[in-house]
C-alpha cells in the first residue's frame, strides 16, 4: 500500500462489481438464440444482487447502505456541484454514486425477476415454470418490463461511467483502479 492510501472497497464489493459487469454484458448480448447461457447468467445476477443487499447490511463500513444512501436533496446538490466541477470528495460512495447503486439494484432485480417469469410462461421452465401458459397478455407485459429495464440499465451504465470519469478528473484520482485494488488516497486533512 502506498503512503497515504487507505483500504476502502473490500474484496466482495470489488468482485461483485466486476462479476456484474461480466454477467450483464453476457446476458445483454445473449438472448433467445443463446437462451440457456442467457438464463443462467440472469440467475447469477439475481443471486449476486441478493448477496449485495445482504452485504449492504452486514458488510464492511463503506459497503453498507447506511454509508452511501443520502437524502434526494443531497444527491441533487451533489450532481449540481459535480457539473460545476466543485464536488466534495468522498472516501466511500458519493451521494450520486449511492443513488446509482440503488437504481441499478432495483433495475437488475426487475430485469431478472421479469426474465425468470417470461421464461416460466413461455417455455414452462425454470423456477417459475408454474406460470407456464398463463396467457399472452402477461407474457407480453413482462417481456416489455424485461426489455425496458435491460435497456434502462445500459443508460445507467453510461451515466455511471460518465460520473466515474468526472469524479476521477475533478479529484485527480483513478476510481477504476480503486475498484480494482480497493485502495484510495485518504481524505485530505482540512
Amino acid at each position: 500500500m502506498e503512503q497515504g492510501e487507505v483500504r476502502v472497497w473490500d474484496p466482495f464489493v470489488r468482485i461483485f462489481h466486476w462479476l456484474l459487469v461480466l454477467l450483464f454484458t453476457l446476458a445483454y448480448f445473449t438472448g433467445e438464440d443463446w437462451l440457456s447461457l442467457h438464463v443462467y447468467a440472469g440467475y447469477a445476477v439475481f443471486g449476486l444482487i441478493l448477496m449485495r443487499v445482504l452485504w449492504g447490511v452486514v458488510g464492511t463500513p463503506h459497503a453498507r447502505f447506511s454509508d452511501f444512501v443520502y437524502r434526494p436533496s443531497r444527491v441533487i446538490s451533489f450532481v449540481k456541484d459535480t457539473l460545476a466541477l466543485r464536488a466534495r470528495r468522498y472516501l466511500g460512495h458519493n451521494p450520486a454514486g449511492g443513488a446509482m447503486i440503488l437504481l441499478m439494484l432495483v433495475s437488475l432485480l426487475l430485469v431478472s425477476v421479469s426474465g425468470v417469469a417470461v421464461y416460466g410462461i413461455e417455455k414452462g421452465a425454470g423456477p417459475l415454470a408454474m406460470l407456464g401458459g398463463s396467457g399472452e397478455f402477461l407474457e407480453d407485459a413482462l417481456e416489455e418490463v424485461h426489455e425496458f429495464f435491460a435497456n434502462f440499465m445500459v443508460l445507467l451504465v453510461v451515466v455511471h461511467i460518465a460520473g466515474v470519469i468526472a469524479e476521477s478528473l475533478i479529484h485527480r484520482e483513478n476510481l477504476v483502479k480503486a475498484m480494482l485494488n480497493g485502495r484510495k488516497r485518504a481524505l485530505d486533512e482540512e
Binding site: F12, V13, F16, L35, H38, Y43
Partner: protein
C-alpha cells in the same frame, strides 16, 4: 482480511462459475432443439428453405404445415420482406414465428399455429 468478505467473495465467484457452466452445458441440448428450428435469414423475396432432419420428421408426421404455406399466410397479412422464420415448440404445440419488414419499414413479428396456420399473435417490433 475480513473473513466475512472472503466468504461472500468465494460464494460469489464459485456460484457464478457454476451457473455459467450449467448454462453453457445447456447450450448443447438447446443446440439440438435448435436443429428442429427452421431458420432462414436472408434478403430476397423467397427465403431459401433449410429443412433440418428433425423438422422434416415432424412435417412427415403431418402435424405441421410447411413453411411455404405459413409464409403465404404471412404475406397475406402484410407485404414486405421476410427477415426470419422459425419453428418453435411451445406448450406441446408447434408455432411458426415469422418476422418481416413491411413496406413502411416497420418490423412485424407474427406467430402462427403450425398445424392450422392460424395467426395467433402479431406485434410490431422496432
Amino acid at each position: 482480511m475480513n473473513i466475512k468478505a472472503a466468504i461472500f467473495s468465494v460464494i460469489a465467484v464459485v456460484g457464478t462459475v457454476c451457473l455459467l457452466w450449467v448454462g453453457y452445458q445447456g447450450m448443447d441440448s438447446q443446440q439440438r432443439e435448435h436443429e428442429e428450428d427452421e431458420e432462414t435469414e436472408q434478403v430476397g423475396e423467397r427465403p431459401e428453405m433449410r429443412e433440418h432432419d428433425a423438422v422434416r420428421a415432424i412435417r412427415q408426421r403431418g402435424d405441421i404445415l410447411s413453411l411455404d404455406r405459413i409464409l403465404q399466410e404471412a404475406r397475406g397479412q402484410h407485404t414486405g420482406r421476410v427477415l426470419e422464420s422459425e419453428l418453435e415448440e411451445k406448450d406441446g404445440r408447434y408455432v411458426y414465428e415469422v418476422e418481416l419488414v413491411d413496406d413502411q419499414g416497420r418490423v412485424r413479428e407474427m406467430k402462427f399455429d403450425a398445424s392450422t396456420g392460424e395467426l395467433l399473435k402479431e406485434k410490431q417490433g422496432d
